[in-house]
């Protein structure tokens, strides 16, 4: 076997690897789309469920997921971006910074069900928030933080040091340099991190299981202390907890969740490529 054969075999192997990565995604999306599109109707996305959730739509769950994602964004973005600016620009290399980094890495590795239990213990019970939007949002925000912080920090670090030096040489304070030069340059990376984090929050079931999600609540929430239905949890409920649930409704719910998440992903890609075209170092 000569080296050109080795090359060919290697090439085939690598192509198969690439297909193995892409194929499951295409199959999942394809099946969910084909099966789910049958129940798709204006009623399905705009009506409340009835007849034991077998009929009607999933409107409250859609609203619930959007609310939870929005709330998570409001809580997690300022803290996450602020934390990443601190770590990338201000933190000295000492034991405290190392401890913070270690904490972030570990937070990113914690299984989501543990966040759910933490949220139950901390927000729902200890802080007497009850099973509520606010408890769910805080739980999701904590889960999202490590993603936002680490991607934003990476984005800030990729901005050349030179710009900070030049800003200082022009009499700018450190913060003015960060605010006017570094942050705008790092924005695409930061936005990507934010959206990736929020995607995870939107799709997770475990963290909202004990903290916010309602089994069946055919009305919209009135305050942050209400429960809400949410798409991932609703999908879990109708797939496992309700006997005789038509498969098409399950697929329909999955399809709505998928479209929501993929469209956010798409927006992230657009934003990133828009900003990337503008930077040229």
């Amino acid at each position: 076997m000569n080296r050109s054969h080795v090359q060919k075999i290697g090439f085939v192997f690598l192509t198969l690897c690439a297909i193995a990565v892409v194929a499951p995604i295409l199959v999942v999306i394809g099946i969910v789309f084909i099966e789910g599109v049958r129940v798709m109707s204006w009623e399905f996305i705009s009506a409340v469920p009835h007849e034991g959730m077998k009929e009607g739509g999933i409107f409250p769950a859609i609203v619930g997921t959007l609310l939870l994602t929005l709330g998570t964004a409001i809580c997690a973005i300022p803290v996450g971006v602020g934390g990443s600016v601190y770590l990338a620009e201000y933190a000295k290399d000492n034991w405290m910074t190392r401890a913070i980094r270690l904490a972030i890495v570990n937070l990113a590795g914690i299984p989501s069900i543990v966040y759910g239990l933490f949220g139950l213990g901390m927000f729902v019970l200890f802080m007497h928030m009850g099973t509520s939007i606010i408890a769910g949002v805080l739980t999701l925000a904590i889960m999202t933080l490590p993603v936002i912080i680490s991607t934003s920090e990476e984005a800030l670090r990729s901005v050349p040091t030179e710009f900070r030096t030049v800003s200082a040489s022009l009499g700018g304070t450190r913060w003015q340099g960060i605010r006017n030069i570094v942050l705008p340059q790092a924005l695409p990376g930061i936005i990507t991190g934010i959206i990736l984090g929020l995607l995870r929050a939107a799709g997770e079931t475990a963290p909202i299981l004990f903290t916010v999600a309602a089994f069946y609540l055919p009305r919209l929430p009135q305050s942050p202390f209400d429960q809400v239905m949410a798409l991932p949890y609703h999908l879990y409920v109708i797939s496992t907890q309700v006997p005789g649930m038509p498969l098409s409704v399950q697929y329909g719910t999955a399809l709505v969740l998928l479209i929501l998440v993929l469209s956010m992903n798409f927006v992230a890609t657009i934003i990133r490529s828009y900003f990337r075209r503008r930077r040229q170092w």
């Binding site: 030179e162 030049v166 200082a168 040489s169 022009l170 009499g171 006017n180």
Partner: protein, 297 residues
């Protein structure tokens, strides 16, 4: 004023001083004597802008500058030459304390700007850097529009009263850097679309926009082609009527072309400092002569 005439008279003056220094055996020539006898000096209106006394600089335990004393005149171009790693850039960055951010870096001695020690406790470093601007080796405009690049400094310092004022500052700065005619119709365009030479002029315009007293230039032409280099050198000549300029350069021809005074650094020491003409025609130190003639370095 006729520049060349001043050059020769200065030269005479320094030659006279040199005799004294050789007698007392001092190792270093500074321009000090020139100032003390400024009554005889035709350029007596020239003020001392920066005086450095016995400056030592360390990176951790490694010594980068030892016992550097120098006097830099206003409205003159002072060139610092020497081989790579000799400390000339480190020295330059001591003048606006840009070395402060380097971990473990430490300065000893005094650096007087208009008679005030910039290393004294309570010095406003941000204000110091406004007064002592800097142009870097590689043209480094911000990835923003031409206008925004120039406006950055005035904005962060709050130098302008209104939008009109800011526009005026931007125009003056670009005119000062002889760039206005080339860019006046595309101020909103990305600065990175300019040629390297134009980018470097933009960086010079950006530094003069904050109305500094001193401009430090750290090998400002090393990334530029000969024509752009020539333009920057011409620009320096026009700038020296208003600013004190200190330039670090690898290029000895450049030092001899543009500067009034030249300092030669070697292994962290200022070996010789004198009028450019004398350094390049009759250097006092053997080491200087070896370096400028290419036998050392």
């Amino acid at each position: 004023m006729d520049k060349r005439k001043i050059g020769t008279e200065e030269a005479k003056q320094v030659t006279k001083d040199r005799g004294q220094i050789m007698e007392d055996g001092s190792r270093q020539i500074t321009m000090q004597d020139e100032h003390q006898s400024s009554g005889l000096h035709p350029a007596s209106s020239v003020a001392e802008k920066i005086r450095v006394e016995r400056l030592n600089f360390y990176y951790g335990s490694k010594i980068a500058l030892s016992d550097v004393s120098i006097s830099i005149l206003d409205r003159r171009i002072t060139a610092l030459i020497g081989p790579s790693g000799c400390g000339k850039s480190t020295f330059l960055r001591c003048l606006n304390r840009m070395n402060d951010t380097i971990k473990g870096a430490r300065a000893e001695g005094t650096v007087l700007l208009d008679g005030k020690d910039i290393y004294a406790r309570g010095t406003d470093v941000v204000e110091l850097r406004r007064r002592v601007g800097m142009v870097f080796q590689r043209p480094n405009p911000f990835p923003q529009s031409i206008f925004e690049n120039i406006a950055f400094g005035p904005k962060v310092l709050g130098l302008h009263r209104d939008k009109k004022d800011l526009t005026d500052i931007v125009e003056q700065s670009l005119r000062g850097a002889v760039l206005w005619d080339e860019v006046k119709d595309k101020l909103k365009q990305d600065a990175l679309g300019l040629s390297l030479g134009q980018q470097q002029k933009l960086c010079i315009a950006r530094s003069i926009a904050v109305k500094p007293d001193v401009i430090l230039m750290d090998e400002p032409c090393s990334a530029l082609d000969p024509i752009a280099t020539l333009q920057i050198e011409q620009l320096m000549q026009s700038l020296k009527t208003d600013y004190c300029i200190v330039i670090v350069t690898h290029n000895m021809q450049q030092a001899s072309r543009v500067s009034d005074h030249t300092g030669f650094f070697w292994l962290g020491k200022l070996v010789e400092f004198d009028s450019t003409e004398l350094i390049f025609t009759r250097p006092r130190q053997k080491l200087t002569e070896d370096y400028i003639t290419g036998r050392a370095g």
